[in-house]
Symmetry: C2
Subunit: 225 residues, 2 copies
Protein backbone atom coordinates (compact mmCIF):
# COMPACT_ATOMS: atom_id res chain seq x y z
CA UNK A 1 0.00 0.00 0.00
CA UNK A 2 1.01 3.64 -0.45
CA UNK A 3 1.85 5.95 2.46
CA UNK A 4 -1.61 7.59 2.26
CA UNK A 5 -3.33 4.25 2.95
CA UNK A 6 -0.81 3.43 5.70
CA UNK A 7 -1.68 6.79 7.28
CA UNK A 8 -5.41 6.17 7.05
CA UNK A 9 -5.38 2.59 8.35
CA UNK A 10 -2.84 3.42 11.08
CA UNK A 11 -4.86 6.42 12.24
CA UNK A 12 -1.88 8.78 12.03
CA UNK A 13 -1.43 11.80 9.66
CA UNK A 14 0.93 11.35 6.68
CA UNK A 15 3.33 14.00 8.06
CA UNK A 16 3.57 12.03 11.31
CA UNK A 17 4.17 8.77 9.42
CA UNK A 18 7.03 10.50 7.56
CA UNK A 19 8.41 11.76 10.87
CA UNK A 20 8.39 8.19 12.29
CA UNK A 21 10.15 6.94 9.12
CA UNK A 22 12.87 9.61 9.44
CA UNK A 23 13.29 8.82 13.15
CA UNK A 24 13.67 5.12 12.37
CA UNK A 25 10.60 4.06 14.38
CA UNK A 26 9.12 2.60 11.19
CA UNK A 27 11.33 0.63 8.79
CA UNK A 28 11.46 2.04 5.23
CA UNK A 29 8.99 0.66 2.65
CA UNK A 30 10.01 -1.10 -0.57
CA UNK A 31 10.91 1.69 -3.06
CA UNK A 32 8.71 1.72 -6.18
CA UNK A 33 10.08 4.97 -7.66
CA UNK A 34 12.42 7.77 -6.66
CA UNK A 35 9.74 9.33 -4.43
CA UNK A 36 7.36 6.47 -3.59
CA UNK A 37 7.46 3.28 -1.56
CA UNK A 38 5.20 0.32 -0.84
CA UNK A 39 4.24 -0.60 2.74
CA UNK A 40 2.83 -3.82 4.18
CA UNK A 41 0.65 -5.10 7.03
CA UNK A 42 3.58 -5.21 9.47
CA UNK A 43 3.99 -1.47 8.93
CA UNK A 44 0.39 -0.97 10.02
CA UNK A 45 0.75 -3.08 13.15
CA UNK A 46 3.97 -1.32 14.03
CA UNK A 47 2.48 2.11 13.36
CA UNK A 48 -0.50 1.36 15.63
CA UNK A 49 1.84 0.25 18.41
CA UNK A 50 3.89 3.45 17.99
CA UNK A 51 0.67 5.49 18.14
CA UNK A 52 -0.25 3.73 21.39
CA UNK A 53 3.19 4.17 22.95
CA UNK A 54 3.56 7.86 22.03
CA UNK A 55 -0.03 9.09 21.91
CA UNK A 56 -1.56 7.06 24.74
CA UNK A 57 1.33 5.86 26.89
CA UNK A 58 3.08 9.24 26.60
CA UNK A 59 6.56 7.96 25.69
CA UNK A 60 9.12 10.13 23.88
CA UNK A 61 10.27 9.19 20.38
CA UNK A 62 13.60 8.05 21.85
CA UNK A 63 12.00 5.87 24.52
CA UNK A 64 9.63 4.42 21.91
CA UNK A 65 12.58 3.50 19.68
CA UNK A 66 14.19 1.61 22.56
CA UNK A 67 10.96 -0.15 23.48
CA UNK A 68 10.38 -1.21 19.86
CA UNK A 69 13.93 -2.53 19.58
CA UNK A 70 13.53 -4.55 22.77
CA UNK A 71 10.07 -5.77 21.70
CA UNK A 72 11.45 -7.15 18.42
CA UNK A 73 14.24 -8.92 20.32
CA UNK A 74 11.73 -10.58 22.68
CA UNK A 75 8.80 -11.07 20.29
CA UNK A 76 8.27 -14.68 21.30
CA UNK A 77 8.01 -13.93 25.02
CA UNK A 78 4.64 -12.31 25.83
CA UNK A 79 5.58 -11.57 29.46
CA UNK A 80 8.70 -9.66 28.36
CA UNK A 81 6.76 -7.75 25.69
CA UNK A 82 4.01 -6.70 28.12
CA UNK A 83 6.62 -5.64 30.66
CA UNK A 84 8.39 -3.56 28.02
CA UNK A 85 5.35 -1.66 26.79
CA UNK A 86 3.69 -1.21 30.18
CA UNK A 87 6.76 -0.74 32.35
CA UNK A 88 8.60 1.94 30.32
CA UNK A 89 8.67 5.31 32.01
CA UNK A 90 6.61 7.96 30.17
CA UNK A 91 8.34 11.12 29.03
CA UNK A 92 5.77 13.36 30.67
CA UNK A 93 3.59 12.80 33.72
CA UNK A 94 3.22 9.35 35.19
CA UNK A 95 -0.50 8.62 34.91
CA UNK A 96 -0.57 6.78 38.17
CA UNK A 97 0.74 9.76 40.12
CA UNK A 98 -0.76 12.59 38.04
CA UNK A 99 -3.31 13.36 40.72
CA UNK A 100 -0.57 14.23 43.18
CA UNK A 101 0.80 17.17 41.25
CA UNK A 102 -2.03 19.59 40.75
CA UNK A 103 -2.66 21.02 44.22
CA UNK A 104 -0.65 24.16 44.83
CA UNK A 105 -1.82 24.11 48.41
CA UNK A 106 -1.14 20.59 49.59
CA UNK A 107 -1.16 19.85 53.30
CA UNK A 108 2.19 20.14 55.03
CA UNK A 109 2.45 16.51 56.03
CA UNK A 110 1.75 15.31 52.50
CA UNK A 111 4.86 16.82 50.96
CA UNK A 112 8.06 15.01 50.22
CA UNK A 113 6.94 11.60 51.37
CA UNK A 114 9.77 9.12 50.94
CA UNK A 115 9.58 5.35 51.05
CA UNK A 116 9.93 4.66 54.75
CA UNK A 117 11.19 1.24 55.64
CA UNK A 118 10.84 -0.73 58.83
CA UNK A 119 13.79 -2.06 60.84
CA UNK A 120 14.30 -4.86 58.31
CA UNK A 121 14.29 -2.41 55.35
CA UNK A 122 10.86 -3.57 54.17
CA UNK A 123 8.55 -0.96 52.63
CA UNK A 124 4.76 -1.11 52.79
CA UNK A 125 4.74 -2.21 49.16
CA UNK A 126 7.18 -5.08 49.84
CA UNK A 127 5.00 -6.32 52.68
CA UNK A 128 1.82 -6.10 50.62
CA UNK A 129 3.34 -7.89 47.62
CA UNK A 130 4.67 -10.66 49.87
CA UNK A 131 1.24 -11.09 51.47
CA UNK A 132 -0.42 -11.29 48.04
CA UNK A 133 2.26 -13.61 46.66
CA UNK A 134 2.73 -11.36 43.64
CA UNK A 135 5.83 -11.68 41.50
CA UNK A 136 6.83 -8.11 40.60
CA UNK A 137 10.19 -6.61 39.58
CA UNK A 138 12.17 -4.62 42.16
CA UNK A 139 12.05 -1.46 40.07
CA UNK A 140 8.33 -1.24 39.23
CA UNK A 141 7.39 2.45 39.74
CA UNK A 142 3.97 1.34 41.04
CA UNK A 143 5.67 0.04 44.22
CA UNK A 144 6.56 3.60 45.19
CA UNK A 145 3.05 4.83 44.47
CA UNK A 146 1.65 2.32 46.98
CA UNK A 147 4.20 3.19 49.66
CA UNK A 148 3.84 6.95 49.10
CA UNK A 149 0.05 6.80 49.28
CA UNK A 150 0.22 5.10 52.65
CA UNK A 151 2.80 7.64 53.90
CA UNK A 152 0.56 10.49 52.78
CA UNK A 153 -2.52 9.04 54.45
CA UNK A 154 -0.62 8.53 57.71
CA UNK A 155 0.81 12.07 57.53
CA UNK A 156 -2.78 13.30 57.27
CA UNK A 157 -3.81 11.37 60.35
CA UNK A 158 -5.50 8.33 58.77
CA UNK A 159 -4.53 5.11 60.55
CA UNK A 160 -3.59 3.04 57.49
CA UNK A 161 -0.90 0.52 56.62
CA UNK A 162 -0.36 -2.14 53.95
CA UNK A 163 -2.85 -4.46 55.68
CA UNK A 164 -5.59 -1.90 54.96
CA UNK A 165 -4.88 -2.36 51.24
CA UNK A 166 -5.10 -6.16 51.16
CA UNK A 167 -8.82 -6.27 50.27
CA UNK A 168 -8.20 -3.66 47.55
CA UNK A 169 -5.28 -5.70 46.24
CA UNK A 170 -7.50 -8.78 46.05
CA UNK A 171 -9.91 -6.85 43.83
CA UNK A 172 -7.01 -5.46 41.76
CA UNK A 173 -5.90 -9.06 41.18
CA UNK A 174 -9.28 -9.88 39.69
CA UNK A 175 -9.21 -6.69 37.60
CA UNK A 176 -5.79 -7.65 36.22
CA UNK A 177 -7.09 -11.11 35.34
CA UNK A 178 -9.87 -9.43 33.29
CA UNK A 179 -7.21 -7.27 31.61
CA UNK A 180 -5.08 -10.24 30.66
CA UNK A 181 -8.10 -12.21 29.42
CA UNK A 182 -8.64 -9.50 26.83
CA UNK A 183 -5.18 -9.99 25.36
CA UNK A 184 -5.56 -13.75 25.07
CA UNK A 185 -7.35 -13.71 21.71
CA UNK A 186 -4.55 -11.78 19.97
CA UNK A 187 -1.45 -13.74 19.04
CA UNK A 188 0.50 -11.18 16.96
CA UNK A 189 3.00 -9.69 19.44
CA UNK A 190 2.72 -6.14 18.08
CA UNK A 191 -1.07 -6.22 18.15
CA UNK A 192 -1.10 -7.66 21.64
CA UNK A 193 1.35 -5.01 22.84
CA UNK A 194 -0.81 -2.24 21.33
CA UNK A 195 -3.97 -3.62 22.94
CA UNK A 196 -2.23 -3.94 26.31
CA UNK A 197 -1.23 -0.27 26.19
CA UNK A 198 -4.68 0.91 25.11
CA UNK A 199 -6.62 -1.15 27.65
CA UNK A 200 -4.24 -0.50 30.53
CA UNK A 201 -3.80 3.24 30.10
CA UNK A 202 -7.15 4.27 28.62
CA UNK A 203 -9.20 2.24 31.08
CA UNK A 204 -7.54 3.96 34.06
CA UNK A 205 -9.83 7.01 34.18
CA UNK A 206 -12.85 4.79 33.47
CA UNK A 207 -12.02 2.44 36.36
CA UNK A 208 -11.72 5.41 38.73
CA UNK A 209 -14.99 6.79 37.35
CA UNK A 210 -16.71 3.45 37.93
CA UNK A 211 -15.52 3.56 41.55
CA UNK A 212 -17.01 7.05 41.98
CA UNK A 213 -20.31 6.00 40.44
CA UNK A 214 -20.42 2.85 42.56
CA UNK A 215 -19.64 4.91 45.69
CA UNK A 216 -22.58 7.20 44.95
CA UNK A 217 -24.86 4.23 44.39
CA UNK A 218 -23.61 2.42 47.51
CA UNK A 219 -23.98 5.60 49.58
CA UNK A 220 -27.57 5.96 48.35
CA UNK A 221 -28.24 2.31 49.20
CA UNK A 222 -26.84 2.64 52.74
CA UNK A 223 -27.87 6.14 53.72
CA UNK A 224 -30.42 7.27 51.13
CA UNK A 225 -34.08 7.60 51.97
Amino acid sequence: MRISELSRRGGVPVTTVKHYLREGLLPPGRPTSATQAEYGETHIRRLRLIRALIGVRGLSVGATREVLKAVSEHETDPHQVLGLVLGARPATTNHATAGKEDGGDRPEGARNATDATDAAGTTDADALLAEMGWEVSEHAPARHVVTETLETLRALGVDYDWRSLVPYAALAERTAALDLDQLADTTDPLERAERAVLLTVLLEPALLALRRLAQESESARRYGG
Copy 2:
Protein backbone atom coordinates in the same frame (compact mmCIF):
# COMPACT_ATOMS: atom_id res chain seq x y z
CA MET B 1 -6.72 26.44 72.37
CA ARG B 2 -4.65 29.21 70.78
CA ILE B 3 -4.23 29.57 67.01
CA SER B 4 -0.75 27.98 67.17
CA GLU B 5 -2.19 24.76 68.59
CA LEU B 6 -5.08 24.82 66.08
CA SER B 7 -2.45 25.12 63.32
CA ARG B 8 -0.41 22.22 64.69
CA ARG B 9 -3.31 19.86 65.30
CA GLY B 10 -5.01 20.78 62.03
CA GLY B 11 -1.78 20.25 60.06
CA VAL B 12 -1.99 23.68 58.40
CA PRO B 13 0.44 26.64 58.85
CA VAL B 14 -0.72 29.57 61.03
CA THR B 15 -0.69 31.95 58.03
CA THR B 16 -3.03 29.59 56.17
CA VAL B 17 -5.34 29.30 59.21
CA LYS B 18 -5.52 33.13 59.29
CA HIS B 19 -6.29 33.14 55.57
CA TYR B 20 -9.17 30.67 56.10
CA LEU B 21 -10.48 32.84 58.98
CA ARG B 22 -10.41 35.98 56.80
CA GLU B 23 -12.14 34.11 53.95
CA GLY B 24 -14.87 32.92 56.29
CA LEU B 25 -14.09 29.22 55.81
CA LEU B 26 -13.43 28.96 59.56
CA PRO B 27 -15.73 30.73 62.03
CA PRO B 28 -13.97 33.21 64.34
CA GLY B 29 -12.74 31.99 67.72
CA ARG B 30 -13.93 33.40 71.07
CA PRO B 31 -11.90 36.63 71.62
CA THR B 32 -9.72 36.56 74.77
CA SER B 33 -7.91 39.84 74.14
CA ALA B 34 -7.64 42.46 71.42
CA THR B 35 -5.30 40.22 69.39
CA GLN B 36 -6.02 36.69 70.60
CA ALA B 37 -8.87 34.20 70.38
CA GLU B 38 -9.71 30.77 71.72
CA TYR B 39 -10.57 27.89 69.36
CA GLY B 40 -12.31 24.56 70.02
CA GLU B 41 -12.50 20.98 68.73
CA THR B 42 -15.04 21.86 66.05
CA HIS B 43 -12.48 24.30 64.61
CA ILE B 44 -10.04 21.42 64.27
CA ARG B 45 -12.52 19.13 62.56
CA ARG B 46 -13.56 21.90 60.22
CA LEU B 47 -9.95 22.86 59.50
CA ARG B 48 -9.09 19.24 58.62
CA LEU B 49 -12.06 19.04 56.26
CA ILE B 50 -10.99 22.32 54.62
CA ARG B 51 -7.46 20.95 54.25
CA ALA B 52 -8.87 17.84 52.54
CA LEU B 53 -11.16 19.80 50.21
CA ILE B 54 -8.54 22.34 49.14
CA GLY B 55 -5.28 20.43 49.47
CA VAL B 56 -6.39 16.95 48.41
CA ARG B 57 -9.64 17.41 46.49
CA GLY B 58 -8.29 20.50 44.71
CA LEU B 59 -11.28 22.81 45.30
CA SER B 60 -10.95 26.59 45.20
CA VAL B 61 -11.58 28.66 48.35
CA GLY B 62 -14.91 29.78 46.88
CA ALA B 63 -16.06 26.25 46.04
CA THR B 64 -14.94 25.07 49.49
CA ARG B 65 -17.01 27.82 51.15
CA GLU B 66 -20.10 26.66 49.25
CA VAL B 67 -19.49 22.99 50.05
CA LEU B 68 -19.01 23.78 53.77
CA LYS B 69 -22.21 25.82 53.82
CA ALA B 70 -24.16 22.99 52.18
CA VAL B 71 -22.55 20.40 54.47
CA SER B 72 -23.66 22.28 57.58
CA GLU B 73 -27.21 22.49 56.19
CA HIS B 74 -27.31 18.72 55.58
CA GLU B 75 -25.19 17.51 58.49
CA THR B 76 -27.68 14.85 59.51
CA ASP B 77 -27.86 13.24 56.06
CA PRO B 78 -24.66 11.23 55.35
CA HIS B 79 -25.58 10.54 51.71
CA GLN B 80 -25.99 14.28 51.03
CA VAL B 81 -22.72 15.11 52.80
CA LEU B 82 -20.73 12.48 50.87
CA GLY B 83 -22.26 13.66 47.62
CA LEU B 84 -21.32 17.25 48.45
CA VAL B 85 -17.67 16.61 49.28
CA LEU B 86 -17.05 14.01 46.57
CA GLY B 87 -19.22 15.42 43.80
CA ALA B 88 -18.01 19.05 43.79
CA ARG B 89 -16.01 19.99 40.74
CA PRO B 90 -12.33 20.67 41.51
CA ALA B 91 -10.90 24.06 40.57
CA THR B 92 -7.95 22.52 38.74
CA THR B 93 -7.63 19.20 36.94
CA ASN B 94 -10.21 16.50 37.41
CA HIS B 95 -8.24 13.57 38.81
CA ALA B 96 -10.29 11.04 36.94
CA THR B 97 -9.43 12.53 33.56
CA ALA B 98 -5.93 13.85 34.35
CA GLY B 99 -4.34 11.11 32.29
CA LYS B 100 -6.03 12.40 29.16
CA GLU B 101 -4.33 15.75 29.13
CA ASP B 102 -0.62 15.10 29.06
CA GLY B 103 -0.03 13.73 25.57
CA GLY B 104 0.80 16.49 23.11
CA ASP B 105 0.65 13.93 20.35
CA ARG B 106 -2.62 12.12 20.88
CA PRO B 107 -4.01 9.97 18.08
CA GLU B 108 -6.35 11.77 15.72
CA GLY B 109 -9.41 9.69 16.51
CA ALA B 110 -9.01 10.23 20.24
CA ARG B 111 -9.55 13.97 20.15
CA ASN B 112 -12.78 15.74 20.98
CA ALA B 113 -14.80 12.68 21.76
CA THR B 114 -18.34 13.68 22.65
CA ASP B 115 -20.95 11.58 24.40
CA ALA B 116 -22.51 9.71 21.51
CA THR B 117 -26.04 8.47 22.11
CA ASP B 118 -27.97 5.72 20.41
CA ALA B 119 -31.32 6.25 18.68
CA ALA B 120 -33.08 6.42 22.05
CA GLY B 121 -30.62 9.04 23.39
CA THR B 122 -28.95 6.53 25.72
CA THR B 123 -25.20 6.89 26.30
CA ASP B 124 -22.88 3.99 27.10
CA ALA B 125 -22.82 5.17 30.71
CA ASP B 126 -26.63 5.17 30.95
CA ALA B 127 -26.78 1.62 29.64
CA LEU B 128 -24.07 0.42 32.02
CA LEU B 129 -25.67 2.06 35.05
CA ALA B 130 -29.04 0.57 34.16
CA GLU B 131 -27.49 -2.90 33.80
CA MET B 132 -25.77 -2.56 37.19
CA GLY B 133 -28.87 -1.11 38.85
CA TRP B 134 -26.83 1.80 40.22
CA GLU B 135 -28.60 4.91 41.48
CA VAL B 136 -26.47 7.84 40.29
CA SER B 137 -27.33 11.50 39.68
CA GLU B 138 -27.79 12.69 36.09
CA HIS B 139 -24.95 15.18 36.37
CA ALA B 140 -22.18 13.00 37.83
CA PRO B 141 -19.01 13.92 35.85
CA ALA B 142 -17.88 10.27 36.07
CA ARG B 143 -20.66 9.34 33.60
CA HIS B 144 -18.90 11.29 30.87
CA VAL B 145 -15.55 9.71 31.71
CA VAL B 146 -17.03 6.25 31.10
CA THR B 147 -18.68 7.25 27.83
CA GLU B 148 -15.60 9.13 26.58
CA THR B 149 -13.28 6.24 27.38
CA LEU B 150 -15.40 3.90 25.29
CA GLU B 151 -15.53 6.42 22.43
CA THR B 152 -11.76 6.78 22.53
CA LEU B 153 -11.17 3.01 22.51
CA ARG B 154 -13.54 2.60 19.57
CA ALA B 155 -11.88 5.48 17.71
CA LEU B 156 -8.58 3.62 18.15
CA GLY B 157 -10.03 0.44 16.70
CA VAL B 158 -10.76 -1.55 19.88
CA ASP B 159 -14.12 -3.31 19.68
CA TYR B 160 -15.52 -2.19 23.03
CA ASP B 161 -18.88 -1.11 24.38
CA TRP B 162 -20.56 -0.79 27.79
CA ARG B 163 -21.00 -4.56 28.00
CA SER B 164 -17.22 -4.91 28.03
CA LEU B 165 -17.14 -2.85 31.23
CA VAL B 166 -19.73 -4.87 33.17
CA PRO B 167 -17.17 -7.19 34.84
CA TYR B 168 -15.05 -4.13 35.75
CA ALA B 169 -18.14 -2.40 37.17
CA ALA B 170 -18.88 -5.46 39.32
CA LEU B 171 -15.39 -5.17 40.83
CA ALA B 172 -15.81 -1.38 41.25
CA GLU B 173 -18.99 -2.10 43.20
CA ARG B 174 -17.04 -4.25 45.64
CA THR B 175 -14.30 -1.60 45.86
CA ALA B 176 -16.90 1.06 46.70
CA ALA B 177 -18.35 -1.19 49.41
CA LEU B 178 -14.86 -1.38 50.99
CA ASP B 179 -14.63 2.42 50.75
CA LEU B 180 -17.96 2.94 52.49
CA ASP B 181 -17.12 0.36 55.18
CA GLN B 182 -14.21 2.56 56.19
CA LEU B 183 -16.48 5.52 56.87
CA ALA B 184 -18.87 3.53 59.02
CA ASP B 185 -16.89 3.86 62.28
CA THR B 186 -16.92 7.68 62.17
CA THR B 187 -20.12 9.39 63.20
CA ASP B 188 -19.08 13.07 63.28
CA PRO B 189 -20.22 14.43 59.90
CA LEU B 190 -17.16 16.66 59.40
CA GLU B 191 -14.76 13.83 60.24
CA ARG B 192 -16.58 11.42 57.99
CA ALA B 193 -16.56 13.93 55.14
CA GLU B 194 -12.81 14.49 55.58
CA ARG B 195 -12.11 10.75 55.63
CA ALA B 196 -14.26 10.23 52.51
CA VAL B 197 -12.23 12.83 50.61
CA LEU B 198 -8.89 11.44 51.76
CA LEU B 199 -9.70 7.80 51.04
CA THR B 200 -11.43 8.47 47.74
CA VAL B 201 -8.92 10.86 46.22
CA LEU B 202 -5.65 9.66 47.75
CA LEU B 203 -6.35 5.98 47.12
CA GLU B 204 -6.87 6.62 43.38
CA PRO B 205 -3.20 6.43 42.35
CA ALA B 206 -2.69 3.48 44.71
CA LEU B 207 -5.58 1.53 43.19
CA LEU B 208 -4.17 2.09 39.69
CA ALA B 209 -0.74 1.08 40.96
CA LEU B 210 -2.16 -2.11 42.45
CA ARG B 211 -3.69 -2.94 39.07
CA ARG B 212 -0.30 -2.46 37.36
CA LEU B 213 1.46 -4.64 39.94
CA ALA B 214 -1.24 -7.31 39.69
CA GLN B 215 -0.98 -7.22 35.87
CA GLU B 216 2.75 -7.85 36.06
CA SER B 217 2.23 -10.70 38.49
CA GLU B 218 -0.61 -12.20 36.42
CA SER B 219 1.44 -11.88 33.23
CA ALA B 220 4.34 -13.70 34.95
CA ARG B 221 1.95 -16.40 36.11
CA ARG B 222 0.45 -16.92 32.64
CA TYR B 223 3.43 -16.39 30.38
CA GLY B 224 6.51 -16.41 32.62
CA GLY B 225 8.88 -19.33 32.71
